[in-house]
Symmetry: C2
Amino acid sequence: MWEKAIQDFYPDDIAVCYGCGRHNPAGLAIKTYWDGTEGTCRFTPSDDHLAYPGVVYGGLIACLVDCHSIGTAVAAAHDDEGRDPESKPMILFFTARLEVDYTAPTLVGTELFLRARVEEATPRKSVVLCTVHADDVLCAKARVVAVRKKE
Amino acid sequence: MWEKAIQDFYPDDIAVCYGCGRHNPAGLAIKTYWDGTEGTCRFTPSDDHLAYPGVVYGGLIACLVDCHSIGTAVAAAHDDEGRDPESKPMILFFTARLEVDYTAPTLVGTELFLRARVEEATPRKSVVLCTVHADDVLCAKARVVAVRKKE
């Protein structure tokens, strides 16, 4: 269990991501919390994040899945290698493939809850599975192939 | 060849999409132009749309692919059925599945060029293939399953 979001450990000089960088004031500020087994994320879409009236934009959900899955891959890799997230250089990943199945319309006005787990990890890449719920409704299922950045 | 972007034909009461709705002033204003065979889109990411310094955010690319592929499905369906985009009710689609392969880092400061084609169409859904180029670099290849909205 890490007390801070994984994104709050990202090195200052790269923490500019529109999705999750703490140094991007225009961005979404997506935060992943790691409990040793899975990453969780809570996010409430703004009134601008619409697809149709009353329905959340699927592109926003893709953004949440992307940053949250990468954050989960980063956290899991540190745990697997017994490394503290403050150790240097931090293990980082980038997105090689993103797949999202939109299983139900995501209604506005509800906090979204994302859960992600690493399904498969090799020295070169991790495959992350992620779900997005709005209350009890499964709104999206996703799979992200995260490639490890060379040190 | 349609003179206006396909999104500019979307009915007023639903044109609120964060990605492409002309009635969403906070949104990305993605525009798809249809030449009878393929949909094209040009978009220059803002300085906020970063993943790492100098590299465009993959979530933004997913947003571009999503709205542009849906726009292409809409345009192709009207053409296939010999219907004017002004005819009512407009044929609409929503995204059921989004797949994006990020094939190269997308460097900031370059206009992106998206091309999309309908690979397969049934009365219920269309499958759209889409590419994203920055100059001569193929940055992403994508596939979108677009489900037709019931009239």
